[in-house]
């Protein structure tokens, strides 16, 4: 959504030459005040997302300092209690503190998000670079493979893989990472296809730079911005997939808390209706985190791509 103008805050008459013409072209449909409002909101949104995400991440990292109870401390005298001063978000069936479990679950869910994205970016970047740079047969094989994976509903592959691999934190990271590599792979490939034709690559070749070094040092920097945008949005996807898988009981297993398996208890209609404090905090944490990450990702995309609009 970035405007073709960079001098944002100054009044229109202070603009010069090209910028003024650009502004005149765009303001056919927009009053200057509305434009300002739009830019303001957009920048605001990305910053809000960042602040929100930092707060959530800090809460998760500082879990032992924030939570007054251990996430695993069973208190059979305080089962299914509603929110109170003692237990901010109440307690679950075995008297464990929901607030502590939600905060500790943040560690697991965020870690799954980051590691899964690192895996998919890693696989995707390497295969995408090879496919884009060498083209031909390599490209054909890699692309058919991404087609195959992208044709299928993620959850079907995910469930089949989860059934095969068995549940657990590490497996969940691996499965989500493996499922998501085709998209970064295609992004990197597309960029490499364009880059490899450019003069500086030709120059590097003429100078006898080894292919490996050309790919890593010369071509790769041009895909960094695409990958950063993908990674930020991919973390949201990975967190959602982890939560979905764990919600169905096929991801992270209790007693290790994750936002998804905290939601799992809500499959019991009695808990869903009568003890909403047991599942709502985890739900809110998922929504807030994903919103924050999406805000940041959108802001980054706009920042990197001056052509995006809307």
């Amino acid at each position: 959504m970035a405007e073709p103008i960079t001098v944002d805050e100054r009044p229109a008459r202070a603009l010069t030459g090209d910028a003024e013409a650009a502004l005149a072209r765009r303001s056919v449909s927009l009053s200057p005040r509305r434009q300002a409002l739009r830019r303001f909101l957009r920048a605001r949104v990305a910053v809000t997302g960042l602040v929100l995400f930092v707060v959530i991440a800090l809460l998760a990292i500082a879990a032992p300092l924030v939570a007054r109870h251990s996430p695993d401390a069973i208190d059979l005298l305080a089962r299914n209690q509603g929110p109170s001063w003692q237990h901010w978000f109440g307690t679950d069936r075995t008297g464990r503190d929901t607030f502590a479990r939600t905060v500790y679950a943040g560690r697991v869910s965020l870690a799954v998000g980051f590691v899964a994205v690192a895996i998919s970016v890693g696989i995707g970047a390497v295969l995408g670079a090879l496919a884009g740079f060498f083209g031909g047969l390599t490209d054909g094989i890699v692309m058919r493979f991404t087609d195959l994976i992208m044709t299928f509903p993620p959850i079907v592959i995910l469930l089949t893989l989860a059934a095969i691999a068995g549940p657990g934190v590490g497996m969940t990271m691996l499965i989500i990472g493996i499922l998501n590599w085709p998209l970064p792979c295609r992004l990197v490939r597309a960029k490499f296809l364009a880059v490899r034709e450019q003069e500086f690559i030709l120059a590097a070749r003429a100078l006898g730079v080894p292919t490996r070094r050309i790919i890593v040092r010369h071509a790769f920097p041009s895909v960094l911005d695409v990958l950063i945008v993908y990674a930020s949005l991919g973390i949201a996807t990975a967190i959602l997939l982890e939560a979905g898988l764990s919600f169905l009981g096929l991801g992270v297993q209790p007693p290790t808390p994750s936002w998804g398996n905290l939601l799992n208890v809500a499959q019991n209609v009695d808990i869903l209706e009568n003890q909403p404090w047991q599942w709502m905090p985890a739900g809110a944490a998922i929504i807030l985190t994903v919103l924050a990450v999406n805000f940041i990702g959108d802001g980054l995309r706009d920042a990197f791509d001056p052509r995006t609009n809307g």
Binding site: S29, L30, R34, L37, R38, L41, L148, T151, F152, P153, P154, I155, V156, L159, T160, L161, A162, A163, I164, G166, A236, L240, A243, G244, F247, L248, L250, L263, A266, Q267, V269, L272, E273, P276, W279, G283, I286, I287, V290, L291, N294, F295, N309, G310
Partner: protein, 318 residues
Amino acid sequence: MGRYIQRRILISIPLLLAVTMLTFGLLQLTPGDPLDSYVPPDQPLPAAQRAALRHELGLDRPLPIRYLYWLKETLQGNLGYRAKNGDAVGPAILHRVGPTLLLMGTALVIGIGLGILLGIVAAVRQYSIFDMLLSLFAFFGISLPVYLAGLLGLYLFALRVGWFPAGGYSTPGVGFSLWDHIHHLILPAAIIAINYVASTMRYTRSAMGEALNQDYVRTARAKGLSERVVIGLHALRNALLPVATIVGAYLPNLLSGAVFIESIYSWPGMGRLFLDGVDSRDYPLIMGMTLILAVIILAANLLTDIAYALIDPRIRYG
């Protein structure tokens, strides 16, 4: 067009083979003995009987032979028998296709219909308060995962307010009643639709906004056509093409949505059957489901491509 469709169908055959082979191979990597899913855990069999059963089921033969055997049976229209209870897989799945397609179809109609409508309004009144509110809704709608929306919807509209039944396909014990079915259908379908309303709206808004800036729209206005005709006829038809691309991409995700919503709302569809198969490690069922889902997805992709050609006369498939 006919030749194009033929070619696409021919291309999907090796794709289906690859998918089933991959799934078949992966399932063999599962730790544990596939025979276990045929035997109730509380009644262990003596070793001799296990060996006899293994031989009878063909589990003692090498992997490629077993795959070819499965393929032969499948080509004859027989998807095998469930490990869990011995039901035939084909009929068990077919029985569940209807409810799932009904759920997905309703969700898709709500999502696209409402999404396009709101998108047009947002594009025409761009940057108004209404547009901003819709954008905000779209952001929440896209960030809200379907299982969470499902739980919240069940909690609010079924358990707290009581407008809708708390799941199921129809009220048990009551004869067929159209209203009863619709009553059970609306909430889960609307929940799945939220995501699609939000994203269809965003795409329609940006495509429509672009179309409204085109010269032919100015021409249409200049020759005095009413705004309704300009927007509804001239701009919308061109704006629909990018939207149609997105709708094709929805289909795999719609199936994911169905898996969660069927589980939350006890909807007797393919999603729940699949989950059941995964839980009990029912390989014949998982294989059958994978094949049928793959066929559905490929067919849906083909239909989407044909739909492009119908919407945009500039597209011709050779």
